[in-house]
Subunit: 298 residues, 2 copies
């Protein structure tokens, strides 16, 4: 079993790896780094990029510790203890409406009374759903999951459908992906294996997004597609601020706001009661923002 | 004591009055109306405008009824009963960064077991704080409050400072205004007087905003002011989606999403860790987004 310090160090290396490969994928953008410390213990390094393909992106590492916040004690029914939490979080918003928004998070949590668990996920939010891209994305995730446990992909895919759901719109955020939380030895995997699973997802991530950017390059777009992208970014904002547990928890427990809201798009629009034209590409996308789609065979 | 039907009818007339005067103030914009019904009982008429001064605005009336939602029963520790709720809600986003965003809500609530109360408020969110405008705005609110109760203005002004506070930014949403809730006969005023107070605020509203628009017309602006407006609109989105109890409650209890999110700006931007230049107008505005400012004597 790796120590929490080893896990944090390895997550830092993962952040470096991801940033390096995202810079290569973008072509011109370079990450800028902000180091910060947390009054109650720990800190992080938040890296942001603005490039030729990635309009606004962030890759954040943090490792924080201290007494468990009252809100966690209550929501998880834990006894007072100290906690340690470390992870890497990413959201990337592309310039092109034909490329998807992507999100990844891998995290590790342990308490001074001996509990520990892993959590994380990757999900894809195309402004326009492209079935072949969604299939490629899910196949890649399934391949990593299958290396660790035969049940992981389907279970975590279903959890992503439930988690990345904009309830007040009755839409999924995008084509889903995988989501898992509170993963410990009850999963059948050891601490080391679960950590390796998190690292494998993290190492896949930049290559997966490079492929998505590559596929989008030949797709032309103009003002109507940009306007649709701005509306879909509005939905992304709605999900993150209203439903995302991590965002809400961070903002309500006085986390570092700029790192938490790194996930916000560069811009977003709202139009009252916007309805795309029947049979348009926009309408077709809306019909695919539903839970339970088998993207591997769609 | 007016019946709930009378109150709803009078709020409809108030909506008409406000829309008429806002059209006059804008000069070209006309309201469009959406009628909707609620499966569990009641409905509303949502009116939206896009004009030459008001870029995106909504003036919504609703009157809904049915069993009290479980979330209200729990949060207010009530016994199961039927409720009736009616009100008028407004948010207006101007084109000009030199004009403020404004919000108003007046509402009435009663339950089948005999409880009733009024709630509401008006608050102003300038992109650039102009002290004289804030003073004018607060003086107008105080004048209406003073007609009803000598304590109302200061009490409701303090409550607005607390309510319209973006906790994760440690900023107020703007220069505040007034906010009140659960107002019943314990206030010292009768049901009829409290209803008259709500109507007086509603009748003041369009004239107050007409004055704000008028004052902004001579103020020139360009791309830097527009960019600042887009960032401030991002804060407005953050407040409404993260902290506004009405918005959260509506979205979590399956209210009509398009009417609830009528408050969203037409567009908003986010820039990681944006810091305005020292001594700029933007920096100066930030120093005024604090609780407890006596705008009457600022």
């Amino acid at each position: 079993m790796h120590s929490k310090e080893e896990i944090a160090e390895r997550f830092k290396v993962l952040q470096d790896y991801i940033c390096k490969h995202l810079e290569l994928a973008d072509g011109t953008g370079k990450f800028h780094e902000d180091l910060w410390t947390r009054a109650a213990g720990g800190g992080g390094r938040t890296r942001t990029i603005a490039g030729q393909q990635i309009e606004k992106g962030g890759v954040a590492f943090s490792a924080v510790h201290g007494p468990l916040p009252a809100a966690i004690l209550k929501s998880m029914q834990l006894e007072p203890a100290d906690f340690f939490a470390t992870g890497v979080s990413i959201v990337l918003h592309p310039h092109s409406p034909m490329a998807p928004i992507i999100h990844m998070n891998v995290r590790y949590f342990e308490t001074s009374d001996g509990r520990w668990w892993f959590g994380g996920g990757i999900d894809l939010t195309p402004h326009y759903v492209v079935e072949e891209d969604a299939r490629y994305f899910h196949e890649a995730l399934k391949s990593v999951c299958d290396d660790f446990h035969p049940d992981f992909y389907q279970k975590f895919k279903d959890q992503a459908d439930d988690y990345f759901f904009i309830r007040h719109r009755q839409e999924t955020r995008g084509v889903g992906g995988i989501f898992y939380d509170y993963l410990d030895e009850k999963s059948g995997l050891s601490h080391t294996q679960l950590f390796d699973f998190a690292l494998a997802l993290g190492q896949l991530f930049p290559h997966l997004y490079a492929e998505m950017l590559q596929r989008s390059q030949s797709r032309t777009w103009g003002a109507p597609e940009k306007q649709w992208q701005m509306l879909r970014r509005g939905r992304y904002v709605e999900f993150n601020l209203v439903w995302d547990r991590g965002t809400k928890f961070g903002l309500e427990t006085d986390g570092r706001t700029e790192s938490i809201l790194m996930s916000m798009p560069p811009g977003a629009n709202w139009v009252y009661n916007f309805q795309p034209a029947p049979d348009s590409a926009e309408s077709k996308t809306l019909t695919r923002l539903q839970k339970g789609i088998d993207w591997l065979n769609a």
